[in-house]
């Protein structure tokens, strides 16, 4: 090994020696990367390719499986069940993402302010929901929402009226907004907080010398420094909203009248495949949603970054 490496390091390296060293470096590189690449192909590339293939066929009552080209996509583009779900998740994200990110931002700025007592304890406590499985979070909130023996029920009983009905058709989307906000506000707080810690304190000191108050420092230094982190958090939140599945699927048994099987696009694709045996169409819906999510996330990122450059 050393003998082969040495010529590469000596000033009078021969062309053949350099070529051999480069080849060996390439071989070693692939050795490290290969296990990941194999799993990447099996668990990401192949399923996506297979789903695209499936989406081009259709199971017909007569004649078995037939190639139908883009017919499944045409059906998806005009499917009211799918687009009803898309509208619902758009409504959801327009409400939920700003609420969650503002909570996370306020908490992160408070942690970073240097004026908060017990900052370390608050940081851990607010992050705790991240360690709670989403399923368990929905189960607990489902109990709390319960009209008969949950906290909502107790409150209604105390007030003598059906004031709080989180599982009713009008309110169930709000109930989901609350659960998702509870799950991820602390996580986003830590992302913002970590980004704030990278700002040089000299900037703050200089600003203070110039007579800037704490709010001015937040507005002129901290928020601009957080712009990248906010854009990324927004993109991930939008992706998450479009993929909404766990919360409606787990609340469905508790609120069967409020949550239909096409409540979100993902729930719809799941139902198509598992209850309807329509794998081809289910694959089409999954791909349409994947592309839609990617495009929207991309647009948000580009717009966010462009504002950054200005």
């Amino acid at each position: 090994m050393a003998i082969v490496t040495a010529p590469g390091r000596s000033p009078a390296r021969s062309r053949a020696g350099a070529g051999r060293a480069a080849r060996r470096e390439a071989a070693n590189g692939w050795l490290f990367v290969l296990p990941f690449v194999v799993v990447f192909l099996v668990a990401i590339v192949a399923p996506v390719g297979y789903a695209i293939g499936l989406s081009l066929f259709r199971d017909q009552l007569v004649g078995g499986t037939a190639f139908v080209g883009g017919a499944n996509y045409l059906k998806a583009l005009t499917d009211p069940a799918l687009w009803g779900g898309v509208l619902r998740v758009v409504l959801f994200l327009v409400i939920q993402v700003p609420i969650m990110l503002i909570i996370a931002l306020v908490a992160a700025l408070a942690l970073d302010s240097g004026r908060l007592r017990f900052a370390g304890a608050f940081r851990i406590l607010l992050f705790l929901p991240y360690a709670v499985p989403g399923v368990v979070a929905v189960l607990i909130w489902g109990f709390i929402y319960g009209p008969r023996y949950g906290l909502a029920g107790s409150l209604n009983h105390a007030l003598g009226a059906g004031l709080l009905e989180p599982l009713s058709p009008q309110w169930v989307l709000g109930a989901i907004v609350n659960i998702v906000t509870w799950e991820f506000a602390g996580y986003n707080m830590l992302i913002f907080y970590s980004a704030l810690r990278t700002v040089s304190t000299e900037l703050y000191e200089a600003a203070e010398l110039d007579g800037a108050g704490p709010l001015r420092i937040v507005w002129s230094i901290k928020l601009p420094a957080l712009r990248g982190a906010i854009v990324i958090a927004t993109v991930f939140s939008i992706i998450g909203s479009f993929q909404l599945f766990n919360e409606p699927n787990l609340l469905k048994p508790l609120a069967p009248n409020a949550i239909v099987s096409s409540y979100t696009p993902n729930l719809y694709a799941y139902t198509l495949s598992f209850a309807g045996q329509q794998d081809n169409y289910s694959a089409t819906v999954a791909i349409v949603m994947g592309v839609l999510t990617a495009v929207i996330a991309y647009v948000v990122q580009v717009r966010g970054m462009r504002r950054d450059a200005r």
Binding site: A26, L125, P133, T201, T293
Partner: protein, 295 residues
């Protein structure tokens, strides 16, 4: 980083010793909101089914039924819960742990070796960071069911093995923590690349590796959609799918009520992760910092 920041914090404290009551009030409110469901979970895990139905949600019941509830959780339905716990451990350790190992190898390989296709490979993998697991789960299920892999542990483990974000984190970490001169020196000493990796680099990469292990284990531990669609035999369920099934059962008015089991089982399922997060604070915080700095 913390070493660099420490004096700065002291300066800030010295200059602005005033503590804000308003900030404290806001944070107390947020903490109350955060802890409410967890408090509800703990309180109700100590109640018998009878007390659960009859007493106020945040008040303790007439007796302390937690031990009885725990015993019932592990014996109900032929002791299926213990199996779910073991399955979750298996999927998290093999799937999540394996994901961290593969991500570390590959992140290191991309950071420290030049080979044809490296940039393209990295770009494709980074693109895959944005693909959410739930969007991939259904296509993966369709493929695996065609291959006859569904309803086996592999159906959950194989998709859990790939973590593009973990690779990205380990790439960042390698670039920062492993100096190329050190590798060059090891090469001149005649060490093979694998030996260099295990004896020199891995020690430097340890904090990053623990971070990625933690995140990928948590992701696998908490996964619901993938095992839900992949597994039909309750014996292979992880905790998430099993608990959801118990909950759906108890929500039916005709079924035997087992709300106490759903609550106590939920409490048992979150304790290991909460403990892990509290003990390993340093690691996940540095991981989050790396993720937010390098975007």
């Amino acid at each position: 980083m913390s070493a660099l920041r420490a004096p700065a914090i002291d300066v800030r404290r010295a200059r602005a010793p005033r503590r804000s009551v308003l900030l404290l009030a806001i944070m107390l409110l947020l903490t109350a909101y955060t802890l409410l469901p967890l408090l509800y979970l703990v309180v109700n895990s100590t109640k018998s089914l009878d007390d659960f139905f009859r007493t106020f949600g945040l008040a303790f019941g007439s007796g302390f039924a937690l031990p009885a509830n725990v015993a019932e959780v592990f014996t109900h339905d032929g002791g299926v819960f213990g199996g779910w716990l073991l399955n979750t451990l298996l999927y998290s350790v093999v799937g999540g742990g394996g994901a961290a190992v593969l991500a570390t190898f590959a992140g290191y390989g991309i950071a420290k070796f030049r080979f044809p296709g490296r940039r393209a490979l990295f770009a494709v993998i980074l693109g895959a960071v944005a693909i959410p697991g739930t969007a991939l789960a259904l296509p993966t299920f369709l493929l695996f069911s065609n291959l006859g892999l569904t309803n086996t542990p592999w159906a959950v483990i194989i998709p859990s093995l790939v973590s593009p974000f973990g690779l990205y984190l380990m790439w960042t970490y390698t670039v920062d923590a492993v100096p190329s001169e050190l590798l060059e020196a090891a090469r001149i000493d005649g060490a093979g690349e694998l030996r260099t990796f295990f004896t020199v680099s891995l020690r430097l990469l340890a904090p990053g590796f623990v971070t990625v292990v933690l995140f990928s284990v948590v992701a696998t531990w908490n996964n619901y959609f993938l095992p839900l669609i992949m597994l039909s035999d309750p014996r292979w369920y992880p905790l998430t799918v099993g608990l959801a099934q118990w909950n759906a059962q108890s929500a039916q008015s005709t079924a035997q009520p087992i709300q106490n089991l759903v609550l106590t089982g939920s409490l048992i399922s979150i304790i290991p992760l909460v403990v892990a997060f509290l003990l390993l604070q340093r690691f996940w915080q540095s991981g989050l910092a790396a993720g937010s700095v390098k975007q």
